[in-house]
Symmetry: C2
Amino acid sequence: AAQQQSSKRGSLLSGVICINILILGCAMVCSSVFSPDAVSPVNVQILLSVLLLLTTAWMVYYMAYVARLDKAVLYKDGHAGPVWLRGGLVLFGVCSLIMDVFKIANYVGYMHCDSAVKIVFPAVQALFILVQVNHLPNGAVCLPLSCRCGLMLCLASNLIVWMTAVTEESQHQTVIPKSDHGNEGECNCSHTACSIFKEAYYYLYPFNIEYSLFASAMAYVMWKNVGRLVDQHAHHKHRFRLKGILVGPVVGVAMLVAGLATFVIYEVDMAMDDKEKKELALKIHYLMNTVAVSLMSVAALIGYAIYWLDKRDHVSEKNPTRSLDIGLLLGSSLGQFLICYFNMVAIVASSATDVLNALNLACSLLTIIQIILQNVFVIEGLHREPFNEDHEGHVFANPHALHSNQETHQPSTMRRSTSVVIITTGMHVPVTLGPCWKRRLLKEISIFLLLCNVILWIMPAFGARPQFDNELGFRFYDYSTWSAVVNIGLPFGIFYRMHSVASLFEVFLIT
Amino acid sequence: AAQQQSSKRGSLLSGVICINILILGCAMVCSSVFSPDAVSPVNVQILLSVLLLLTTAWMVYYMAYVARLDKAVLYKDGHAGPVWLRGGLVLFGVCSLIMDVFKIANYVGYMHCDSAVKIVFPAVQALFILVQVNHLPNGAVCLPLSCRCGLMLCLASNLIVWMTAVTEESQHQTVIPKSDHGNEGECNCSHTACSIFKEAYYYLYPFNIEYSLFASAMAYVMWKNVGRLVDQHAHHKHRFRLKGILVGPVVGVAMLVAGLATFVIYEVDMAMDDKEKKELALKIHYLMNTVAVSLMSVAALIGYAIYWLDKRDHVSEKNPTRSLDIGLLLGSSLGQFLICYFNMVAIVASSATDVLNALNLACSLLTIIQIILQNVFVIEGLHREPFNEDHEGHVFANPHALHSNQETHQPSTMRRSTSVVIITTGMHVPVTLGPCWKRRLLKEISIFLLLCNVILWIMPAFGARPQFDNELGFRFYDYSTWSAVVNIGLPFGIFYRMHSVASLFEVFLIT
């Protein structure tokens, strides 16, 4: 009880710290937008540098000192985040590092007339990213209180970096269409490569946004796991086998290839200045997406129907890791919802009736439906008992086990499960055949959904931005509003797709 | 397990409905701001009317039909929200009703040239408020699935009404300073009382915002409680007695009277056009607030120190009602944080050094500290075992009981409690006197904090808006940004103060 009490105190204290830093950061970012004279971006960067240095210091302290304590081993966090989260962190971290290098190279050119903070900040950020990528995935070694506070500091820093990046990116998007002539003012770059660096690092911004989001998610996961003793019973090892599963992978790979092809076409056409080509590329892109999400919706619906029929036991024990996973899945799907609804309202309200926007509308609507169905499918799948190979002989015993478990509940449930028993004892053949057939179909569906999510991840992650290329959003909403919506929503969307891939892989394994 | 499963499905389904309605509403409100030609406020009002009618229909259906089913009694929600929430709902509901009547009266004058929806919407809203005020506090009678969905529909509707009201209020605030001459366009009011009605209903807007927030909170509380069987063991009845408690109430009442006096002065001076008087009124207001929050901070700190010393048992059992209460308390305190941090950044960045803004800065900073300390105090207080009168004779037995309870824990804790035993067996007098003395002081502190929260609630709830009267915020941020921040933050702040009063009263009772 005393330990529980101190753990509660720790969460409260760290939560208070995090909230205060976050709101302060939010206020600073807002004022840098509305009163750039009073709060310049340089001020915000100073605040950020201090925060990042603090967090870095905490991480280094932990790695160097606390990790050596014997006691700390007890708290070693085995669940420091699933593989895909670590992988994403490294991938986007590397891109952010490159961005920082370009930024430094660019601002070195302005050093004679601009603030030195503009060089210091990317340098600090690069250091921070290096330390963080090494620290977070190794599994934090944690003494509850200071660990919680450190992780919350880390979370808050990452979220403020994220806010700043989103704001900068939105402002950048706002400026370009208005003034294409580079009026940088009186300060000129002293070396010739400036414009190249600048171009390059703006392309890398989305990766930095994504990186901050991943690091925040990871810090949050670790914070949730602090003080939770690692469950010692080994996980069931499930083998990854594709034996007997054919349709799902084949259709999935076909979608993947088709998606890659349209993605290449899209990127090539967008790079040209031909307006008709651009429109055609957009149409192809929307068509491809619409087809993909329609097929996925149907697949997820069939999968859910099978779960509905299937009498496999539900997992009854609480599993914090799973709850957290599902929470992240549901939370990150909000980003896509946001973009889709804003898109739909814009199309319907401006009553655009051309083919392009009809496709756009269909694509948005179906994406929403697809995400809902997929979430339901994944959640249902993760809540089933893993299918153990050695239990296959005992299929006949299962309905009775279910029956005796439920006897304590309401009579209506009992009556239904009784009827199931009657049916199964009546007809032997469908039952032995049943689970295998259902199981195979579920495996087909999850592998198909997995592959489709991969292509839906690749397209936005590597630069397809139909929301910006189609000018409707900009025309309908404000420039900065629309780019803020997309810049907030899209990183969550990318995160969602990666998370889905991981979850669907797990569903595949336990089916 | 099956019931738990179906309850999970219900929350998921209702959550999906709520999120979708909310994001759609958010997109509509945003487009009505940025593309008023394509999505006029009338469109938004049509959407809202449909939503409100749906919710009203659900509530009437439940009241008329489902409440009669015998089975439903099982699910009768005894915790349908604490008294202060119901009271707030009724109070703000009445004000919102008056606002709707004024709105209808005003738009009747424009009927010959404006959309009829502008009359229909307030009428629908009035009906909705009437039904809701009758329905929600009575304790929903609930069949899990449809009840969850209905409550989420209710929550979503209230939140969209809230968003719309905040947006309208912010736009209204933005327009006034720019164009004081009423260029209503070509449409003129057909009766003379129009301007009075208009003036009147704009004054009532804050109450409507507050009402929507209360109704949302109540719907959320009920949603959380759906399917939870009411715990049958009677609550400890604690008598409210002020015997022996003097300093807290006296200082508290003094603060209350002083607060009311400054509030009256503030309101009177603000109504005048004299600029110096206005500044003086602002100074008095800030000074009063600074003094109040300083005293409260000190009191909460002392209270927390006493809890730290006090060895009274912590409550170990989980209590969902309490967790929800604490969650709402922490969540609603964010509103005040938001305003304070934005205020502080504005003052520091614009380097305003006059007395007025120095007071403003001190007030913001101390308010943040006060809220944090008070939250900690309330949470600590709610987690203690109620002090039962009939146990008072057994004080000597307590340390031993504590001792044997903790023996299973770490040695360091045990050693400390052993030393307590030694001390208590050594000196008899301080122990019998000890708890009484601490208890009395805690009661003094909670009653003082309670009274101070009442005055801090009264001032913003009845119209003091120093954030708008002091022009710094408007000058520093955008007009609409600052009014959005205040209009979002302040209702949460008012909610927080009311909630604190209720929580402190509970702390007082169980101490």
